[in-house]
Symmetry: C2
Subunit: 300 residues, 2 copies
C-alpha cells in the first residue's frame, strides 16, 4: 500500500467527500460527510475530526486541504475568490491557511469571472478541473460539471480562462414540483421524450421562446402527443438541450464531463444527440486536484 501523504475534502453544499491521498495523487480511501447546509453553526471542526480522525490515527498527521463551499461565507472560513484566468499558481497564491486542533488546514479559494458584464462564481469545481487536467495530461478544452447548477469552463494553456453557471437542474426541480407542469406528470422514464425535449430545446430561437415552449410539457400531455410518463423527461430534455446548445456554440473539440457516470448520463445523451463529441473524466479527479495544489504549495 502506498503511504498516505495528504487528506483532501471536497466539501460542498449538500455533501462532503473526503479522500486519503497517496504520493502519486491517487485516492487510497474515501469517507463521506454532510454538506455545509446540514452542519450546525461552528460544528465544522467536529465533522472534520469524525471524517478523518481514523486516518490520522492510522497514518499519522498529514496536511489537510479543503475545497468547495466550505470556503464560502456560509462555510467554515471565507476564502476570497481568485480571479480568472487562473492556473494552479494563481490558486496557490490565494490559498488560506488556519489551524484546527493542531492540524494544519489549507482552504482552496473559489474562482470569480465575468461574462457580458455578468459576474459568475464557482467553489470546488476549479479543483476538480485541475485534477482532471492533471490526470489526463491535457491543457485545453471545454469542461462541463453538471449538477443543480452546472458549470461550463473554458481551459487554455492549463488555466481556467472563464466559465458560466447554468441553473438547469434547479430550474427543472422548481418547475416540476411547483408549477402546473408537474400536474399531468406520472413517474416513468422515457428516452424518446427526453430526446424530443433535447432537440426542441436546442432549436429554440430566443430566451422568450423557452418561456413559451415550457408550456408544451402540458399541451403535449393534454393533446395526447406525449404519454404522461414521458412529460418529466421531456421537460428535462428541453432545458438540457437549451443549455447545451448555448454552452457549446463556440466549442472546438470534445467536451470533458466531470461527474459520476449516473449524473453525466443525461448530458452524454444530449451532447451526442446534438452532434457534440464528449468524454467522461476519471472519477475522484477532485483528489488529483487536491494533490496537485498541495504539491505546488509545498504542503507535501
Amino acid at each position: 500500500m502506498s503511504a498516505a501523504r495528504l487528506i483532501g475534502l471536497d466539501w460542498g453544499t449538500t455533501a462532503c467527500r473526503a479522500y486519503l491521498i497517496a504520493a502519486d495523487g491517487a485516492a487510497l480511501e474515501r469517507a463521506n460527510g454532510p454538506g455545509i447546509l446540514k452542519v450546525e453553526q461552528g460544528a465544522f471542526g467536529g465533522w472534520l475530526d469524525s471524517m478523518v480522525g481514523g486516518w490520522i490515527a492510522t497514518h499519522g498527521v498529514v496536511p489537510i486541504i479543503l475545497s468547495g463551499m466550505i470556503g464560502s461565507r456560509q462555510g467554515w472560513r471565507e476564502a476570497p475568490y481568485a480571479l480568472c484566468p487562473a492556473g494552479p499558481d494563481d490558486l496557490v497564491a490565494a490559498l488560506m491557511r488556519f489551524e484546527h486542533n493542531g492540524l494544519a488546514i489549507t482552504l482552496v479559494p473559489g474562482l470569480a469571472t465575468e461574462n457580458d458584464r455578468m459576474p459568475d462564481v464557482m467553489r470546488g469545481e476549479e479543483t476538480q478541473i485541475l485534477g482532471a487536467l492533471a490526470l489526463s495530461g491535457r491543457q485545453d478544452g471545454l469542461f462541463l460539471l453538471p449538477g443543480t447548477h452546472s458549470k461550463w469552463a473554458d481551459v487554455a494553456g492549463g488555466r481556467i480562462v472563464s466559465f458560466r453557471t447554468f441553473m438547469t437542474g434547479e430550474v427543472f426541480g422548481a418547475l416540476k414540483d411547483h408549477t402546473i407542469l408537474g400536474r399531468l406528470m406520472r413517474a416513468g422514464a422515457d428516452a424518446d421524450g427526453f430526446e424530443r425535449g433535447v432537440e426542441e430545446g436546442a432549436a429554440l430561437g430566443s430566451a422568450g421562446a423557452l418561456l413559451n415552449r415550457l408550456f408544451a410539457t402540458r399541451s403535449y400531455g393534454l393533446m395526447g402527443q406525449l404519454a404522461e410518463t414521458a412529460l418529466s423527461d421531456y421537460l428535462s430534455g428541453l432545458l438540457i438541450g437549451a443549455e447545451v446548445a448555448a454552452a457549446t456554440r463556440q466549442a472546438q473539440g470534445p467536451v470533458t464531463i466531470i461527474a459520476s457516470a449516473a449524473l453525466a448520463g443525461r448530458y452524454t445523451d444530449a451532447l451526442s444527440r446534438l452532434g457534440q463529441e464528449n468524454r467522461l473524466a476519471p472519477e475522484d479527479c477532485v483528489a488529483g486536484g487536491h494533490w496537485r495544489l498541495a504539491r505546488a504549495a509545498g504542503l507535501c
Copy 2:
C-alpha cells in the same frame, strides 16, 4: 337605468367575475365568486345561484353565458376547443348549452391552435379579446393578456389567427419561492432593477442564455451590483423582457393589453422600454365579449 338583458361569467381557475349586462353590452353590476379550483365537486350550480340569484330576482330571468376554465375538464361541463383561426361565428357554432334549475346556460368553448407543431390552448381569453375588439371597433392587431400564463394573440379581420402561451408569471413565482435566487432577496420595489432586467432579458441571444442569466439574480447580489431589495424586480424584468422580445419580434403596430391597470403596469413599462407602442383595453371588456357572442347566437 338600462334594462338587464344578459348575465355573463368569466369563470377562471382562481376567480370568477360575474356581470349583469345591459342591451348595449355595458356592465350594470358586478359580483365575484371563487375560481374553479376552489369549488368543491359538483357545487358549481350552487355558486352560480349565489352570485346571480339576486339579479334574477330583481330583473327576471335572462340568458346566462359562461367563459373560462369552467368549460374545461376540471370545470362544470367540458366544452371541446374551437380551432384557430376563429371569429365570433366559429365560437357561436361551438357553443355548448345546458339547463340548470330552469335557467338556460351557454358555455363558450376555449380555443386551440398550433405553432411550430406545438399545440396551445386558451379558455376565457378568446371572449376578452372579442370584447376588446367590439369596444374598440378594431379588427386587427397583437393582443396581450398577462397573468400567471400570459397569452399573446394575433388578430386579423376580426378573427383570432393564432396565439402563444408564455409561462412567465408562474416561472417567476417558482424561481423566487423555490430556488436559491430567493435567498438573497429582500422585500422592496426597484424600478431600476426591473428596467435592467428587461433590457438584459430582451438582449439574450438564446434559450440557454436565459438559464445562465437567471444566475445573475444571485451574482449581482453577491457582488453588490444590485441591492437585495432590487433582486426580485430584476428577476421579474429579466423574464418579462425575454417574453416581450420574443412575442413582439414580428409585431406591426401597437400591442393592446387586456388586464387590470395594476397587472398591466409591468408590461406597459417593459413594452415602452423596448420601444414597442402599447395601449390598455377598457376594463371589463369580457362583458362586451359575452354580449357580442350572446347576440350573435340569438340569445338576447
